[in-house]
């Protein structure tokens, strides 16, 4: 960094000065006065003269604070851990206080730009030091100093003060960018501290609860997607190593809080989440799909003779805040798709479908899952519009004999087992709370079962539903009503199929599920 000679010593002196001032009785009694005195010292040492010097000051300070922590950390174990931590935090918290005061007092009181610029600069510097440290120390990397800086700075800058309230959304945005840059896939050694930050009660509260017009939701959704993307390769395999299990359980806890406190958030972003959650991650996906708006009363899916198509909610389209149509790539494929949906020709479009979806011959990785998901939801969404335009509403009759159902039936027949599994998963991911998508895709799944020309398709449809039902709760409402309809409605002759009786334990399983459903 070829810092100017003497700057390191100067910075060290000033930092030491500030820590002493901050912890002195006078400092405690009148922090603002102490701060202005210190700013004067900074000026005298020329630190605030240029933007570059300010940047170097923060970088050097951050590095010193981190180094200090590294010196303490080896004996941060056992009974003395709390004391050792407090010794570290004695300096770290003072440094954070300095940053927060500088941010608060930078520029004019009502000029938020300078404050946010400084905040972004400091967050960027801390992130940069972290990444360099992560690279350098590798498996000896320590997350604590950075976690402490980030969380304490967040607490400081979320104090109930008018100046801070005025810049709160920009603060959240700055934090979002920083956390996205430091996402687990980029800094795996920081993963646990990252999730601790992202799910801190104050961060959750600000991002999802207190910020008006849900302006923090799309940022939080992105952070969750970062987490899911990181976990995906590890969750993809059944055997979870302990570090993964801990991170996974932590993720479940966060999702449970979201399901309990912000179900609408999970409802709005479910598509984006399911797109990056591995298909075999059934319980976590069920948790997201189980969310339903708080003002909605769900009819008991086990009610005998429940007339789903009489529910008012099934005509309501759910909010899907992910641009799934844009995910249908390449554009030429999208064009062909739209053409086929409109004209139901050429037939070759159907036979080419699989080649558009298949990306390799490697088992387990053959298909472009995001494209499959997008295709299914897009075609379903267009089908509902198409049926409505005819003044009808989706049901077992109106969904049939259309370009949309052509595509679905073709996928059911033409894909191999792996592909069909992903296709059926994409449909099952839409079985949620009462809404037009749930109803349409529930009918579609049952229609595919009824019209299947081979039992293998029917068996796989059953497997996809069953594997979602045999994990611990919660279970999405749409999943339950679809399965109940499948096993109760004689038109599907469910119990006549051989795969229901292929083994005693399977049969017993079906019966026990049926008993609990009927």
């Amino acid at each position: 960094y070829d810092d100017p000679p003497g700057l390191l010593e100067k910075t060290e002196y000033l930092l030491r000065e500030w820590v002493n001032i901050y912890h002195s009785p006078q400092g405690a009694k009148d922090p603002n006065k102490a701060f202005s005195m210190f700013v004067h010292q900074m000026n005298c040492h020329g630190i605030l003269k240029t933007d570059d010097l300010i940047t170097r000051f923060f970088r050097l300070s951050t590095q010193m604070v981190v180094e200090l922590c590294y010196r303490f950390l080896p004996d941060c174990t056992g009974t003395g851990a709390t004391n050792t931590r407090n010794k570290m935090f004695h300096t770290v918290d003072a440094y954070v206080k300095l940053i927060s005061l500088l941010v608060k007092h930078s520029g004019e009181a009502n000029n938020s730009a300078t404050k946010i610029n400084l905040l972004n600069k400091v967050l960027g510097i801390v992130a940069g030091v972290l990444q360099q440290d992560h690279e350098t120390h590798q498996t000896d990397f320590q997350q604590l100093p950075y976690q402490r800086i980030f969380i304490m700075l967040f607490l400081e800058l979320n104090a109930r003060e008018p100046i801070l309230e005025a810049i709160n959304f920009q603060l959240l945005t700055a934090y979002f960018h920083t956390l996205h840059i430091l996402r687990p896939a980029k800094s795996p050694g920081f993963a646990y501290a990252w999730l601790e930050l992202v799910s801190h009660r104050l961060f959750l509260g600000r991002m999802l609860g207190l910020t008006p017009q849900q302006k923090g939701w799309y940022m939080y959704a992105q952070l969750l997607i970062d987490l899911f993307k990181y976990l995906a390769p590890f969750l993809r395999n059944a055997e979870l190593a302990k570090p993964v299990t801990v991170l996974y359980k932590g993720t479940l806890r966060v999702l449970l809080v979201l399901l309990h406190d912000f179900p609408e958030f999970l409802c709005d972003y479910h598509y984006g989440f399911c797109d990056v959650i591995p298909p075999n991650c059934i319980q976590m996906r069920n948790l997201i799909l189980s969310a339903f708006p708080r003002n909605m009363r769900l009819p008991d899916p086990f009610t005998p003779n429940l007339k789903v198509d009489m529910l008012a909610e099934i005509s309501n389209e759910p909010r899907v805040l992910t641009e799934f149509a844009l995910m249908i790539q390449p554009a030429s494929f999208k064009k062909d798709l739209d053409h086929y949906l409109k004209a139901r020709t050429p037939v070759t479009f159907l036979s080419d479908l699989r080649s558009n979806l298949q990306i390799s011959n490697e088992p387990g990785l053959r298909y472009n899952i995001p494209l499959m998901n997008a295709l299914v939801l897009y075609v379903g969404h267009e089908a509902i519009t198409y049926i409505r335009k005819k003044g009808l509403s989706p049901n077992m009759t109106t969904i049939a004999h259309s370009a949309h159902m052509d595509i679905f039936q073709n996928l059911a027949v033409d894909l191999d087992t792996e592909g069909r599994y992903l296709f059926l998963n994409a449909i099952a991911n839409q079985l949620r709370y009462p809404n037009s998508h749930t109803h349409y895709f529930s009918c579609t799944l049952l229609y595919l079962f009824a019209e299947a020309n081979t039992e293998a398709i029917q068996e796989q449809i059953t497997r996809v539903l069953l594997e979602r039902l045999i994990v611990n709760r919660p279970h999405p409402w749409g999943l339950l009503i679809t399965f109940i309809e499948l096993i109760k409605n004689p038109t599907y002759k469910f119990w006549n199929h051989e795969f229901v009786h292929c083994a005693p334990e399977i049969e017993k399983l079906f019966e026990s599920v049926a008993r609990s459903c009927m």
């Binding site: 607490l155 109930r160 646990y192 999730l195 601790e196 799910s199 801190h200 009660r201 959750l204 509260g205 999802l208 609860g209 801990v246 359980k249 932590g250 993720t251 479940l252 806890r253 966060v254 449970l256 809080v257 309990h260 406190d261 059934i282 319980q283 948790l287 045999i470 994990v471 611990n472 709760r473 919660p474």
Partner: protein
């Protein structure tokens, strides 16, 4: 199959929001009243 989500230390039946006392992804219990910061009158800060 899967986790028993009711055994992760969250009071899922609570009529109140969970996030104000959420203890974090690794905590087995929520935060207690003495863990939660509160803006008390400055006179109360004695230490």
């Amino acid at each position: 199959l899967g986790q028993d989500l009711t055994a992760l230390g969250l009071n899922l039946n609570s009529p109140d929001n969970l996030y104000p006392t959420f203890g974090g992804p690794w905590a087995e219990t929520p935060c207690r009243a003495q863990d939660i910061d509160f803006s008390v009158p400055p006179e109360y800060i004695i230490n």
